[in-house]
């Protein structure tokens, strides 16, 4: 029983990573109605920017906000430059462009910073929290930051004018435009925010999994699993889903002998397929009804 408790706690700790990623995925999905397959690589690239800034001698707490700003601008640029021209194109074009972005970012990062594994500092330190061996200070910090982000986002979308406009632009672009919302810029804003959230996720994850161009691909899959499990339409659901995926992954790794191993990707696959088949709207998402 004690083992179970420990594994659940450890699952929550890793789940924080996935929750962060899932949150970024859902943000983009809300803004543009597409899943961003390049989300992980965007986060990875942002983390490398932070790494480079620190290499140039900037202290952590300067590099961090600078990276967020750069990522935000990068996200907006990607939307304005790459996606705006194909706004009305069929889904296939979007998926192809996402995959293209993934390939470009991955191989450019490998080209600039090469594929060796690099250590990345943690702002919280890696000492165990309160002397217990279950959860490190960094993991606790990560959970805290994820929850804080969620609250900020909730406040932003619920109580600010621009948050309301963004929701309107995503829910019904035509009507939103009629009442004066600049839908195109709201999309760009969504991209920027998702890139910035991705940057936070990357910077928080890097101390745990180490920095290298391929660090995100499996985490992105868990992020997707979390987002799908929680419901693609609900940021809170995404965070919950992320934590649940972390717990399931840890429990399955411990109690199902076959799985074991380092990363349990097949579990993420099964989770995604199972959720999509049995409850496509996820735990907290809305069911989208298409009118004919």
């Amino acid at each position: 029983m004690e083992l179970l408790g420990q594994q659940i706690l450890a699952g929550i700790a890793t789940g924080a990573i996935y929750a962060c990623m899932a949150l970024a995925v859902v943000m983009i999905y809300q803004a543009i109605d597409h899943l961003n397959f390049a989300q992980g690589e965007m986060a990875m690239f942002s983390t490398f920017i932070a790494f480079q800034l620190m290499l140039w001698g900037l202290p952590y707490w300067v590099a961090f906000p600078v990276t967020l700003v750069v990522s935000f601008i990068g996200g907006v640029l990607i939307d304005r430059v790459v996606f705006k021209p194909i706004h009305d194109a069929p889904i296939l074009s979007h998926v192809v462009v996402f995959i293209a972005l993934l390939a470009i970012l991955n191989s450019t990062a490998g080209f600039i910073w090469d594929f060796t594994v690099k250590a990345f500092p943690s702002p919280f330190g890696s000492a165990p929290l309160f002397g217990s061996s279950l959860i490190s200070a960094h993991q606790a910090g990560m959970i805290g930051v994820t929850l804080l982000l969620l609250i900020l986002l909730f406040v932003f979308f619920r109580y600010t004018r621009i948050g309301l406009s963004m929701r309107a632009a995503a829910a019904n672009p035509v009507s939103a435009r009629l009442v004066g919302v600049r839908v195109g810029w709201m999309n760009a804003l969504g991209w920027g925010m998702a890139a910035a959230i991705g940057a936070i996720a990357g910077i928080l994850i890097a101390p745990v999994v180490f920095l290298e161009p391929n660090m995100m691909i499996s985490i992105l899959l868990y992020g997707f699993a979390g987002a799908v499990l929680g419901g693609l339409t609900s940021p809170a659901g995404a965070v919950l889903g992320g934590f649940l995926v972390g717990i399931v992954e840890n429990l399955a790794g411990t109690f199902i002998p076959v799985i074991g191993g380092e990363l349990k990707l097949p579990i993420a696959l099964m989770l995604i397929v199972a959720v999509l088949v049995f409850k496509p709207s996820g735990l907290m998402g809305r069911t989208v009804v298409q009118r004919v």
Partner: protein
């Protein structure tokens, strides 16, 4: 609210209309297609006699990719479903061939139908839940499949069969006795024959009643359903058939490379198929050969420009294609053909 009709392409419906309006042009277009088919055949048959063995091997690899891309085209171009997970079916086919040859000493020829059947079943089963998943969700599920595949292949309970991380080494087959060809040349002709057979079957499928049903689902699923097309069945069948093609390609790939290992079947392979599909032209079957050539030779050129940048080159080319020539080689060939027509008349 109107249902968004996604016409990925200048769909075959418009072609049909043109055929009705201008039978003369259509017939001449047909003769051009016939001539280019003959030219392709002559060139394809001449290749092993003109080039060194390594190049012959590369051309064989190109044909293998072309078959896989043809399979993906049946799914995406004809039926309008996505897959980022075709590396998984390619892997399944490759492992089927390798295990049959390694453990059961089955002749390489018979591994192809076996790989085809197994992949058809796997694809059909994956397609069953997939038909509840539209567009982006399907892309997501297959994306997950592609990423998980190398790890599934490494799972310890399967190690006895798959050889785990080590993979399986198989022996390159000789040409049948009495045929004066070396191994590379023989495998080239073997792959070419299989590819041609599969191409003709695919073409006939597209032209058949079932093919029209598949395209109707692509163009407007609701209208297709109201005309009595069984969406669930046809979508799953499309998935299965597509997996069959890719699986046979995988089996051929294993035979010519003589080696299978989990890390050759990553998302990168799926991306390569997707690139090949877009380059060749979504929905245009002969485009597969252009796509195959592209994914085999362009990365080499990109590596020549700068080590490790091939991914970026891929990506940039993909984006440019989507902007400038979303119809790929198909659009290019069409515009050339129509220019020829205009010059004649």
């Amino acid at each position: 609210m109107a249902v968004p009709v996604e016409s990925t392409l200048p769909s075959t419906a418009t072609d049909a209309v043109q055929t009705v309006e201008m039978p003369r042009v259509a017939r001449r277009g047909g003769s051009i297609a016939f001539i280019s088919g003959i030219v392709f055949l002559v060139v394809a048959i001449a290749i092993p006699l003109l080039f060194k063995n390594f190049l012959v091997f590369q051309f064989t690899q190109m044909l293998v990719y072309a078959i896989a891309i043809l399979g993906l085209n049946l799914l995406t171009g004809i039926n309008g479903q996505f897959s980022l997970g075709h590396s998984a079916f390619y892997a399944l086919g490759a492992y089927t061939a390798a295990i049959l040859m390694d453990q059961f000493s089955v002749s390489y020829v018979w591994t192809l139908p076996a790989a085809g059947v197994i992949c058809f079943v796997a694809g059909f089963l994956f397609g069953l839940p997939a038909l509840r998943l539209e567009g982006i969700y399907l892309a997501l599920a297959t994306f997950a499949l592609a990423i998980a595949t190398p790890q599934i292949l490494k799972l310890s309970p399967l190690e006895h069969w798959t050889g785990g991380v080590q993979g399986i080494v198989i022996i390159k087959p000789d040409a049948p006795p009495g045929i004066p060809l070396n191994q590379d040349q023989w495998l080239y002709y073997f792959t070419l024959a299989v590819g041609l057979l599969l191409y003709i079957l695919a073409r006939n499928l597209v032209k058949s009643r079932s093919g029209r049903a598949l395209m109707a689902i692509r163009d407007n699923p609701i209208a297709a359903r109201s005309m009595g097309v069984n969406l669930a069945l046809y979508k799953s069948l499309a998935f299965g058939t597509s997996a069959l093609y890719t699986g046979i390609a995988g089996a051929l790939g294993a035979i010519i490379v003589q080696f299978v290992a989990p890390d050759s079947f990553t998302l990168v392979l799926s991306i390569a198929f997707l690139v090949g599909l877009v380059v060749g032209g979504v929905g245009w079957l002969p485009g597969a050969i252009f796509g195959g050539a592209f994914v085999l030779f362009v990365p080499n050129i990109a590596e020549g420009v700068s080590k490790g940048l091939s991914g970026a080159v891929y990506g940039v080319i993909l984006i440019l294609l989507i902007y400038l020539m979303p119809t790929g080689a198909a659009g290019f060939v069409r515009s050339v053909l129509s220019r020829i027509e205009r010059a004649r008349s």
